[in-house]
Symmetry: C3
Subunit: 321 residues, 3 copies
Amino acid sequence: MRARLSIDPAHQSAVPASDADATAHETAAETAARLLGALREQSPLTHCITNSVVTNVTANALLAIGAAPAMVDLTGEAGAFARVAGGLLVNLGTPHPEQRDAGREAVAAAAAAGTPWVLDPVAVGALPVRTALARELLAARPTAIRGNASEILALAGAGAGGRGVDAADRTDAAADAAAELAATHGSVVAVSGPVDLITDGVRTARIANGDALLTRITGGGCALGAVTAAFLATARTTGDDAFDATVAATAVYTVAAELASGRADGSAPVGPGTFGVRFLDALATVDAADLRARAHLTVTRAAAHADAAPALAAVAAGART
Amino acid sequence: MRARLSIDPAHQSAVPASDADATAHETAAETAARLLGALREQSPLTHCITNSVVTNVTANALLAIGAAPAMVDLTGEAGAFARVAGGLLVNLGTPHPEQRDAGREAVAAAAAAGTPWVLDPVAVGALPVRTALARELLAARPTAIRGNASEILALAGAGAGGRGVDAADRTDAAADAAAELAATHGSVVAVSGPVDLITDGVRTARIANGDALLTRITGGGCALGAVTAAFLATARTTGDDAFDATVAATAVYTVAAELASGRADGSAPVGPGTFGVRFLDALATVDAADLRARAHLTVTRAAAHADAAPALAAVAAGART
Amino acid sequence: MRARLSIDPAHQSAVPASDADATAHETAAETAARLLGALREQSPLTHCITNSVVTNVTANALLAIGAAPAMVDLTGEAGAFARVAGGLLVNLGTPHPEQRDAGREAVAAAAAAGTPWVLDPVAVGALPVRTALARELLAARPTAIRGNASEILALAGAGAGGRGVDAADRTDAAADAAAELAATHGSVVAVSGPVDLITDGVRTARIANGDALLTRITGGGCALGAVTAAFLATARTTGDDAFDATVAATAVYTVAAELASGRADGSAPVGPGTFGVRFLDALATVDAADLRARAHLTVTRAAAHADAAPALAAVAAGART
């Protein structure tokens, strides 16, 4: 497993793997593939309240993967729309006053209606207005929270926050904070980084796909929050849980990024402009075979639970290929 | 005609054609070509008050086709600008409070100054704030109204509205609502879909160009509203009417989309990221020869008027090629 | 020198050159190359308060060149952020009420903290709200001002303003206004056009790079303001002055545009969609060798100062190559 990962030095996995994990891995990759297929059939209405920098690329990423985006961030509309949407994203990148109130309205409606929703606490910790809003929305128990390590640490009260929307590479440094956030708020917490970490407080997935180019285009992280909302919407109809949906979203998204980078087929990495274009193309075409062949995905369980569910422990992706 | 259209199964025309229509068709395609040439010469100042998701792609589409975009959506500026602009678009995709007031100011100024303006009632019917605003602006008699079938039905009071910005493929289901809107408000009404329908209440054009990829990128419909405003601006100087300008805008836009899709030259359809890039390229290069060779355009007249203008009845595009 | 420039008819230089200038030119090109290297090492946090049309492309341009963008335009956050940022851009393209107050807050904080900042007075002169705001912010003495000739003339009180964001090609017509603005406010003034002109009131650089395609994509000028802020941020740490940093930003940006256009390698010019993608790619790869080989850069001094610094007078770029 390590040997495989080492072909891309940007991706380091700290998770041990074994042959025994292969069966369970196939289940995880198949879950992602099945949810992707269901998403494309259903084209879930995905309600986004997001920042002004990434609205366009977020809508395009949702369209590319097969969802139906709707950017409704007005008071008087956001609540009604969150009730009928399949999933909701509230991203705090540029939370202007009207958008803050629309976010509150949408979250209250989503909570009441059972619409799954994602909180993306962009630059929380570093900036006061959004930090206060993030804490307020957190009390409404997001279905999922997506951020980089700095943001997750800050949201959990354990760090000083990032410097804007990028962050140092320290996904694992946020593992404890993520687990605590997850346990306290009943949320799935996804920490983006060279290795993505997703936890519900019991299970922890690590996904060593993606490409550093995702950090060279704006929206590389933010659009994943929206795609996660679309997978959560899909999971409502398939009976999958929020953890599996979030893992699936991240796996599909990062495998698509890898395909778009040019590295997947051994060609030279592309520039960031070309990558942005190819990434949308890849989101439209990534399929079950790509997930089976490329997903570097492990799932572990917290020690207290490991005995109860050995099949899920230390699941290694790609162990057979 | 049907045989030709059937090479692209996404495009079905319900309009009968005959050899006798060929002469009139050439006139329609030539009108579009002539207006496109005039637009590129004049580079009309095109004032856009549009939604936050598509501002960038809208401005880029206008620049690509040869117009001069200006996104002026502040109160205290929008009115003065609408008076001097060649044409105005008011798109209701994300009508924040300031933008709503700017839209009102711009529309009042445009009406007073004779600036042609386009209303794009995004997601009207489904969402209350914009629905009320659309009805208010409608009273100012837009030069043109552009929407999908759900939006046109909702605006005419005949439907429940779409689910956000996409819509089922039922352009013809909105034909009566479009004709009624046109007659009541003195507007040209353009219904986007696999076959675009444009009517002024008397004449009805159907354009079977474009590509389903236009629905896989955000702004595929919204940018057409802006391009229509640019053609209306051009028509002021050439003496063409709003119907011909709207038909020309749609024909040019959808032929460019077809060229960008890859299907026009028999190659495999491209992905949505690549399509977005190639579409801008195609808007910059689409020319009279492309329109003559590719526009699948028919114009009919309401029965009461057919005798008065036989040359315009059942005009079939591409009947000769 | 003229012979070289004449290979691209879009670029005309009115600046005489001589062999004696070669040494000084190498210094100018090397300064740009050195600052570019430092920027990529430091990835300066670049705070942008910019318009809704270009936020995405601006952030992407900064990421491509190696800076860290942060679009913080809320009151209650903009001031604190401007204090810690490396550089700040305030672009007045769509200055909504909240953004106007955030701009005021950020500029006051930048001035107090010594954060270099760029004012981009989009469409000033033509539109009243932003014109008043531009004059107010001007009093806080921007480190640099970037605009097209119409905007610089209007800001200096010498012209009626442009029609939106484009402008006639008359960079040199704004030379006196630029010098006056520079002298009055202690700012470096950069006038974008076929030949870019940059002056601090004493030195004047002219850069005959770039490509007309920069005017066919939205953000072609606005993103340069952000890149200038990133170079100013870098110059704080290297000890270079604001004039050299602004010249370096413009040279790097316009050489990248030239590489992206297709003209640099003798191939056919690309369309505007393709150009936008390739431009981001080129910003990521443009390097010292490109600057040495391609920068068409001259620096002159006002007559009163010419004797004091002969080495800087009439510096011609590319004289040796």
